[in-house]
Symmetry: C5
Subunit: 320 residues, 5 copies
């Protein structure tokens, strides 16, 4: 079922209608919002064909998984955006994707998002239509997408500061695993944001870009700056996590070195001495030293000399 | 043998003919597909010469191993593409290479690919000729090449997610070796995709590019976007593998540190104590301490004191 | 309360007035400095609306946390700058942010900075107005922002040199932690400086940039060069810290190797020998070797041979 | 001695003449090849001055060590190329350098290369002069330079594949040293190739480049592509070696961890037990436990309990 | 004191005069070299003001520490260059800085350099003035700056080759420390060279650059190429040092692994055996095994079995 939303000036409100195929006169009552959420693949295909959407654009619009992009052929613009649906960056369970196809008069949406709240936010707001109702809708949706990242990134900044303190104080495997997971998610987020940033950068730097016909330059610059800022934050957080991972490695290595120093000194001093004690603990019947009156004391003296000698040697090597 | 394929409107179907040298009137019945799969080097050379192909272009077309490229001289365009023939990214056994030379009327193909299925897919589809039969063929082949990567990359994404979970839970040498192999293959794939991406980017950004005369702008943008997306996915997977390798190193290092701590503490406490026990296990005839009534208990007490002292010292050092 | 500052030529001095809403004739006595430090959000909003500031610009101006940016719509320019408020780079406790909105006649400032001294420096200097009083103020503030970084970076250079010497001589965990903290702060500083550098680079390289109407080219180049130099210094210090961290890792690893060599040699020689001694320390009643006249000497000889053999073997392996 | 080579149409062949200074009428019989291989510095200087070569160009031409470059002043072009003279990439013993100075009519060469075969290949081929004899020579020499890298890189690819297999199976210090040497050489090779690639890229992308007057665009593109491909291969091989080095580090670290686990468990279990045995091996006269009938069995039981307890503890810690 | 140097055609030589303030007619006898080496800050400021130097330029000229830069305002050009004053790259004790301010007629120099020889080289050469005496001086000084790097870099190349051999054969901590110091210096050198390279690149790529009015294009290209080559060499040496550091880490790690293997095998075999020997070395009165006739032999056999079993197990694990 295709959900058709149109404004009825007489009733002064928005009307919704479920159709399986758009009637021929539908294009005559702009602004029109066609929600394909519940449309079957066949209905969708039929609709795109009826509206004369170009083949490559129709193909991309129908994809449930496509990186963010913008394309314009004829009257229609295709805009694919990706929002952030998860609660934080410890796991990326889905790429919430919003596929938009819009002309001067019609907005067609197809939202792929299983997260309840975000799904409700990524709906065009049905208020009294202004001068550019379609552009207003697309702007509102774009800002919602951007906000879905920002709120989680701002929370993450504090989390990262805390993580840093904990790692520098006393790291452990769980923190490391968490950092690895964050890094993996931030990398994927960064890719989505880079596509979205570039998409609006194109609109700003290319002359006669199709988006310039739909939006004020100030709005496009705002979109670009928002995604650029999100991308730059994501990259910085990723890089700071990398620094932490690397610093942890160096710190750990230093601690291994310290323990190694203790172990090697203790072992190097006492293992040979224990061997000497072991020799005089042997039960051979003919061991003349054992009978010497000063044998025990000579042995102890020898052991002390060896022990102290080792200590001085390690001191000389600057091991402590 | 050169395999000549042409459309016979009277018979309403495609005819195939095996010739060793193209007859002079062959150029008069477009569209023509010349398959050089079974042509000898001499036949190939002869054909290219007969068609007046420029020397540098002919040389590149005849190479069995050349990175993807596009070149246009005169009426003819040279397009070298590389598909992905292996089942996954654990090993790269061959670079499936498709060399295309085409003008308005003729398509010459030379396919280097030992993988059965892919070889059959990388053939022009012999359907009723449309307006631009040669362009349609090249488009179909380009999309097939792109699809040969995409299907394996999508499978790999799941595999990578699983690999990540297993590495973060409990890594081992086999997983590491697998990751190293993946990285090596992805690097080579990335290079091939980068060339193919750049090739179509040139077509988009240069004015009066030869490909613009053969293809609609929407098609070229579609080719570019497909290869750009493949390249960006490949790079991201490679980078995620690198992150895993590096994270594994840090985790491992931390575990060594933990074990080292245990080993050093156990050794530092018991090795000196064992030495003391070894001393009183010596068999010297004159060892007065042995005869003391409280000698054993004093020794045990001393050992306990040393052991506890070490423990307290390690606690003071924050080793546990 | 909005603090209005205007120059009274008759009194020959600056007058300050606290208003909650700007009177309509306020725009008629340029130059005017409106300090929103103590203005409520509502007053601020009202003022921006009264002055007809564009919505996106007003939104950014009102943010307490926004990366450095420049924007121009209509008569007004928005400039957001970030100074460095902390005493050194061991911790970043706040992003001192200066939001400026200015036209030919009016300068509106909103300073977010808790550090006393810097807050007093980031005020427009109230001297006799020149030809371009607003531009002079903005220039003075920009140079103050730049200076807030430079003084700390110059101090840091010496600190870094010393840190380098200490790490190369004898690193420890505290130095490592300090380096990790420096790196984290320098990364964030670098991002702020990069935005500020790019902002003035845009002014230099774009023709008809709004800043060109307010400032001499020499001034803009000076701003750009100052921030470029600061950014380049920050990046270099960050990279040198990274080199130190990595070098420390290699040095530490080498030392572990050295200690390991000693430990392994001592253990490999004496542990087996101690085992042999342990065998002849066993109390079995039937141990014929113990009764041999030369048993003890043979055993000692055997031990010596094993010990020397091990030493020669390690020498052969080039362990020392 | 300057070796002058000119074509004598009457004799229908090439004549060679050794002069110490070029006669004034020499320029009148193009094409002329002046080989300065055996010329003294003074003769070289004199010749360049006689031909009116610009000072900066003459200076560079006379250098035995200069990175690849192109320069054009007046009628003359300076082209410095570097070939690869060594048999493989395990050591870089020399930078085979070919200094070319050419106009429409004259080619002056100075070759620095001690490798016999390559020296003979880097000579202009003396065949019947065509339309552009000088350009034909330069083209032939450029292709020879490019080929000197390609043949070794193609061999290296197989070597690298094998190296990879051996490292992933069982690395050792010799392989590591070899990889380090390869990396060092590939880095230097990459720099030379980058200069050569950029040199021809300039010719392609700059309008009215001097090389465009001497060579067909197809030839220049061919030169560029050849060096670009060589550079990209070199970089990829270098990066793959880096990946191997890093992967080896992770694998090694994992193995250390495994051995550490064994060592720590064995030591932690048996060293304390040995201490206990050592206690009851002491020879104090007053040790009541020794006289207990069940003393030995109680001790064995205690040891078993401690040993099993440790095992269970290690199991609990997931050490095995 | 300002040292004024001017050419007196009547005397046919250079005259030097010490003044505290330049006389008004000084500008009338070009070429003039004003050496501010011994000028006080006040004299310097006065002179720059008298000559009408722009404020931003005067400020930069007076700095004792400023990265290399070029600026042109009005008739005057400011050029700040940095030479390399130290004997090698083991330590960077100063940034030898040459501040130049020049017009068609006057050259003002301020040299900051404590190294004797370099200071004498960085003086304009007082020869008979040519057509462009000021440009000739600036050219000579620029080439001297470039040469101050090149001679040390060429020496360093050999040193690096030797260092590489020594590290790959048998690294030690001193070599590592040396490499860390080299890296730190090369990084700073690279930054200085990058600024100097970019400065002349701007002159080449910008149309109507001020330097184009003072120098022939061939000279500017020569300056650019010299600094570009120096920068590229510096970067390559830095990167090769990084490769060595990283390779050393991998090699060291491998050696630790090897020693660990030996230690773990020796310990795992002999420590349990020693424990068994310790058990039968205990002095309990009731230990029936001790009285068995075959007790000793059975124990030896058991020990042999355990030892061999361990060996076989380690062999099975492929530890050797
Ligand atoms: Mg990325
Ligand atoms: Mg960024
Ligand atoms: Mg990154
Ligand atoms: Mg970044
Ligand atoms: Mg990093
Ligand atoms: Mg790393
Ligand atoms: Mg790549
Ligand atoms: Mg990419
Ligand atoms: Mg990469
Ligand atoms: Mg990437
Ligand atoms: Mg990475
Ligand atoms: Mg950064
Ligand atoms: Mg920088
Ligand atoms: Mg930098
Ligand atoms: Mg960086
Ligand atoms: Mg680095
Ligand atoms: Mg590292
Ligand atoms: Mg390089
Ligand atoms: Mg490359
Ligand atoms: Mg590359
Ligand atoms: Mg590289
Ligand atoms: Mg690399
Ligand atoms: Mg890499
Ligand atoms: Mg690494
Ligand atoms: Mg640098
Ligand atoms: Mg470079
Ligand atoms: Mg570089
Ligand atoms: Mg670098
Ligand atoms: Mg490197
Ligand atoms: Mg590294
Ligand atoms: Mg590392």
């Amino acid at each position: 079922m295709i959900s058709v939303n149109y404004y009825d000036p007489e009733l002064g409100g928005w009307q919704q209608q479920q159709v399986s195929r758009l009637p021929a006169n539908a294009r005559h009552t702009p602004p029109l919002w066609l929600d394909l959420q519940q449309a079957s693949a066949a209905e969708e295909q039929q609709l795109l064909q009826d509206l004369g959407i170009a083949a490559t654009m129709a193909e991309d619009f129908s994809k449930t998984r496509h990186p963010p992009k913008f394309e314009a052929v004829g009257d229609f613009n295709l805009l694919i955006l990706r929002a952030y649906a998860d609660a934080d960056f410890s796991e990326l369970t889905e790429n919430a994707q919003l596929n938009l196809l819009f002309s001067q008069d019609i907005l067609i949406t197809k939202l792929h998002c299983s997260q309840q709240l975000l799904r409700s936010q990524l709906q065009p707001q049905l208020t009294q239509p202004g001068n550019n109702p379609i552009s207003d809708w697309v702007k509102q949706l774009t800002l919602t997408v951007s906000a879905s990242y920002l709120e989680k990134l701002l929370v993450f900044e504090d989390e990262l500061g805390e993580l840093e303190d904990r790692m520098l104080h006393k790291g452990n495997d769980e923190l490391m695993t968490m950092m690895m997971r964050y890094r993996s998610v931030l990398r994927k987020v960064s890719r989505n944001l880079a596509y979205q940033k570039d998409l609006f950068a194109d609109a700003l730097f290319e002359e006669q870009h199709s988006l310039l016909r739909r939006f004020a330059l100030a709005d496009l610059r705002d979109f670009y700056e928002k995604f650029e800022r999100l991308h730059s934050m994501t990259e910085m957080y990723y890089d700071q996590l990398s620094d932490l991972v690397q610093g942890y490695l160096s710190t750990t290595s230093h601690q291994i070195n310290e323990r190694m120093k203790v172990l090697t000194m203790v072992s190097s001093i006492f293992i040979p001495l224990t061997f000497v004690a072991g020799i005089y603990g042997m039960n051979f019947s003919n061991m003349p030293e054992l009978e010497l009156e000063w044998g025990y004391y000579l042995t102890l003296g020898f052991m002390l000399a060896v022990g102290l000698g080792s200590l001085i040697w390690f001191k000389h090597l600057k091991w402590w």
